[in-house]
Every structure is written in structure tokens, then in C-alpha cells.
């Protein structure tokens, strides 16, 4: 966002309920929240629905936000809770007589973002890990956030981030190997 002074103004404006101020936050954070939802949502969760819910819940509770510095961790905490709800609902839908995936060959909305086999394989492996390990992998390794930032987002000490990451990485690679996923490092172009 802008300068520290602007941020203070924006925070005040948000607390007063000014839509324009919140829309600035939406413009800045929606892509990030959306990628969290896509990567951590899991099967049956529609990322855009979850991300939309996160930003609306945050808008309704913005008065609880004390500092703009805390916006990222705060949004992540809301994303976490929202995704948990969406995952529960997706799981329940699987067992309802008419609530499952479409029977036809055409992909349903939840599947539209599953672009290729490797992506699906990685997602399946990730799904086998506990949620706390899944998120530390995405935030630390994929998004390359500093340990201190991840610690703030997850509300745990920095040391725990490191140990959790070590455990998560080992388990992830083990499962990926078992699933036959390619473990060679692909250099970025």
C-alpha cells in the first residue's frame, strides 16, 4: 500500500466504514488471499468463493484490526478459518445424495482450476499432510516468506516454524516420491 501516513488514514477510513478505503485493501490483498485459497483449499473448495467470503468477513470485522502491519496475519487467520469451513462443507457435500461432483465428464467449478496431472498429484500429496504442515510449506517454501513473517501469520514462535517446516518438507518429499512425482529440481526460466 502507500506511505505509513496514508496507511494510518486508510485504517481510520476503513474503521469508519468507507468502502473506497476497503476496496484499496481488496485490490492489494485479494490476489494473495485467492492464491492461499487455491493452494490450501483442497478438493471441493472453490477458491473464488472462499476468497470472497474472507474479504467480506474481514470488512465486517475491520474495527477489530489495530494496526495495518497486522493486516496480512489477520487476513491469513480469517482465510484459515474460512477454508476450514469450506473444507467441511465440501466433505459433507461428498456424502450427500445430490451434493457431489457433477456426474458428467465436464468439470465442475471446483475442478476447473486443476490444470494438469502433476498439479493434481502435488495437491493430493499435500492433502495427506496435516493442515499445519501444509500451510507452512506453502507460506515458507512456495511464497518464500521470512520465518518471522510466517511465525506472525501462524501465531507460533520462529523456532516452531523452522522445526515444523523441516518435518513438513521431509514428509512431503517422502509422499511425493511414493506417489511417483518427479523430484528433480526444475530451474526457473
Amino acid at each position: 500500500m502507500n506511505t505509513a501516513a496514508d496507511e494510518r488514514v486508510n485504517l481510520e477510513a476503513m474503521r469508519r466504514g468507507e468502502a473506497a478505503a476497503w476496496l484499496e485493501v481488496v485490490d492489494h490483498w485479494l490476489p494473495v488471499v485467492l492464491s492461499w485459497c487455491a493452494r490450501l483449499g483442497g478438493p471441493g473448495v472453490v477458491p473464488e468463493d472462499a476468497a470472497q467470503e474472507v474479504m467480506i468477513v474481514a470488512w465486517k470485522r475491520v474495527s477489530a484490526l489495530r494496526e495495518l502491519d497486522g493486516l496480512g496475519p489477520w487476513l491469513y487467520a480469517i482465510t484459515r478459518r474460512t477454508l476450514a469451513g469450506h473444507r467441511r462443507r465440501a466433505w459433507v457435500r461428498r456424502w450427500l445424495p445430490f451434493g457431489g461432483e457433477p456426474a458428467s465428464g465436464s468439470p465442475g467449478p471446483a475442478r476447473l482450476y486443476e490444470v494438469n496431472e502433476t498439479a493434481q498429484g502435488v495437491q493430493r500429496v499435500l492433502e495427506r499432510l496435516p493442515a499445519v504442515e501444509r500451510e507452512v510449506l506453502v507460506l515458507s517454501l512456495l511464497e518464500e516468506r521470512a520465518d518471522s513473517e510466517v511465525a506472525a501469520m501462524l501465531g507460533i514462535p520462529k523456532g516452531t516454524v523452522k522445526s515444523r517446516l523441516r518435518r513438513a518438507r521431509a514428509r512431503f518429499l517422502e509422499e511425493a516420491h511414493a506417489a511417483g512425482l518427479p523430484l528433480d529440481v526444475v530451474e526457473e526460466p
Partner: protein
């Protein structure tokens, strides 16, 4: 210190994780539209922001609420009035937090919390005080503009509906299109949605010297619409032919003119017949214009004398 093995495993895991799916195309825009719609809804703000823990604080809040009761938002009052500027613009300043300057014709319905303006013609200037939860909208036959920010104007002209945003942000939804957000300093035009509206737009563009391509686009859009009355369809076709000539596409113009003549039954046949005769003569001389000249000679009129005299051997 990170061990080399650990670094390698990091890279392996990262490389795999990069395969994770990205959000689908258009997801961000759809999510954003949903967020804005929820924010614009009158119930979007949660009472949670006023919730305070503790009985003592609650009691104090209750007393404060009684003391500050007059500051609570006033109840919504239904609105129903006509806006019609005879000679000078009409100022509307009695709707709380809403300021209107109407230079044209329209009406206001809804209530004071959600004024719904139906705008027919001319320009309306709108200012909404920020942060008051006013859910104002301006609807024309071409689209709808909803307040997200604060100040904007809506002009309904023969060219369509033009929205200009001075400050804040508005959500504009042209009929049949997805909502777009127009920021301060930005503008957006909703094109007419009926064949008659498109004919009006195309004629106005022609009168004001717009580029032929712009006129052709308006004609094509109008002709693609269903249920055009015959005279509107013919008007659009004639404008299309003359615009093709102006665009230097004479051969296409002649082909279109001949197709128009072949379809028959129009009140503008003679006009197109003369146009086709002139185009054909220019492109291939008298021989090329023979079919049109023959038809003109069959019902001689003073204005055709020069054309027929230029080709004495035809028909």
C-alpha cells in the same frame, strides 16, 4: 546455517509446489464483484464492530447510546418525485447525504437510504457523502450506475449513457454486460440497447463527423439486434452504405446497396438506387450502372436527368 542437503530438499519441494494450481482465469474479477455487491448491500456492515465485552462497559454504552440517540441514522423515508429541468438545472438537496444537480429528465424512487434514480435524458450530477451507507443507484435504459465511492455524473445522450467519475469509485453495469468499476477521473459509456437507440447513436456520430468505422460499428451492433422495426433497419443499412463510401470501401458499399435494393419494399429504395447508380458509374462506367439506370429511366425524375444524360446509350 542451512545444510546443503536441506537446501537441495527445499528446492525439490519448492519445485513441486510450484505446480500447485493458480486461481482460475477471471476468479479475481468475479470475487471482487461479489465483495463489492456485498459491501453495497445495506446490511453489509456487521454489528460486531459495536460489540464490547463486559457488563459495565455495556451499561456505559447503553447510557451513551441514549445520550447520542439523535446521532443514529435516521429511518429510511420513501422517495417518489419527478426531476425535470425546464430552463435551468434542478438542485435536490433535501435527501440526507445526497446532493443532486439534475439537468434533464428523470425520477427518484426508493428511499432515503437507497435512492433509486431513473434517468431518461440529459445530465445528472451526483454527490454522496462518504461512509454514510447510502446505496444510491442511477439507472438508464442503457445501464445502471451504483455508488461505491462518492461523486459522479451520468449523461444520457443520443450516443448512449456516459458516466464520468470525479472522485471515489462507481460500479457501472451496462445492460447485458458484466459490471465494471470506474475510478476517479475515469469515464465509461453504456451503448444503447435497442435498434432505435443504435440508429440514433449512428446518426449522431455521422452528424458530428465521427470516423466511419465508429459509425459502422454502431450500425452493425444495431443490425445484430432482434426486433428492429423495418424503418429502423433500413435507416441503419443506409447509414452503413454511406459510411462504407466514406471509408473508401466503395465496392462493398455497392454490393450492400444492391443487396438492399434486391430486398425490396423499403421507403428508401430511390435514395439507395441513386447511390448505387453513382457508385457503379464511378467503378465501371455506364455499362456497370446499367441495371440501376434502367430502373431510374422507368420512372424519370428531374434529379435523375443528369445521370441518365451522362449515359445516353444506357439503358
Amino acid at each position: 546455517m542451512i545444510e546443503p542437503d536441506e537446501r537441495r530438499d527445499d528446492e525439490r519441494a519448492r519445485s513441486l509446489l510450484r505446480n500447485l494450481p493458480l486461481p482460475p482465469v477471471g476468479a479475481e474479477a468475479r470475487a471482487r464483484a461479489g465483495i463489492v455487491a456485498a459491501m453495497a448491500a445495506p446490511t453489509a456492515r456487521s454489528p460486531v464492530r459495536w460489540a464490547v465485552p463486559g457488563v459495565a462497559v455495556a451499561a456505559a454504552a447503553a447510557i451513551a447510546a441514549v445520550v447520542s440517540w439523535p446521532a443514529a441514522p435516521p429511518p429510511a423515508v420513501p422517495l417518489a418525485r419527478t426531476l425535470a429541468a425546464a430552463s435551468s438545472p434542478v438542485v435536490v438537496d433535501d435527501i440526507p447525504h445526497v446532493h443532486l444537480l439534475a439537468d434533464g429528465e428523470g425520477s427518484v424512487a426508493g428511499d432515503t437510504r437507497a435512492p433509486a434514480i431513473q434517468w431518461e435524458s440529459g445530465t445528472i450530477d451526483v454527490e454522496v457523502d462518504p461512509g454514510q451507507g447510502i446505496n444510491l443507484s442511477v439507472t438508464t435504459r442503457d445501464g445502471r450506475v451504483r455508488v461505491v465511492g462518492t461523486g459522479f455524473s451520468v449523461a444520457r445522450t443520443p450516443l448512449g449513457t456516459q458516466v464520468d467519475v470525479r472522485h471515489g469509485k462507481v460500479e457501472t453495469t451496462c445492460v447485458g454486460e458484466a459490471p465494471v468499476f470506474v475510478e476517479a477521473g475515469g469515464a465509461h459509456t453504456c451503448l444503447p440497447t435497442t435498434p432505435t437507440g443504435m440508429l440514433t447513436r449512428a446518426s449522431t456520430l455521422e452528424r458530428t463527423g465521427a470516423a466511419p468505422d465508429e459509425i459502422l460499428a454502431a450500425c452493425d451492433r444495431g443490425l445484430a439486434m432482434a426486433d428492429a422495426k423495418p424503418y429502423v433497419r433500413d435507416g441503419l443499412r443506409v447509414l452503413r452504405i454511406t459510411s462504407l463510401v466514406k471509408a473508401g470501401r466503395s465496392e462493398e458499399a455497392l454490393a450492400e446497396a444492391r443487396a438492399f435494393l434486391a430486398s425490396g419494399g423499403s421507403t428508401r429504395q430511390m435514395e439507395v438506387l441513386r447511390l448505387a447508380a453513382d457508385l457503379a458509374m464511378k467503378q465501371g462506367g455506364c455499362a456497370a450502372a446499367a441495371p440501376e439506370l434502367a430502373r431510374l429511366a422507368a420512372q424519370p425524375a428531374p434529379e435523375d436527368a443528369a445521370r441518365l444524360a451522362a449515359c445516353p446509350a444506357h439503358p
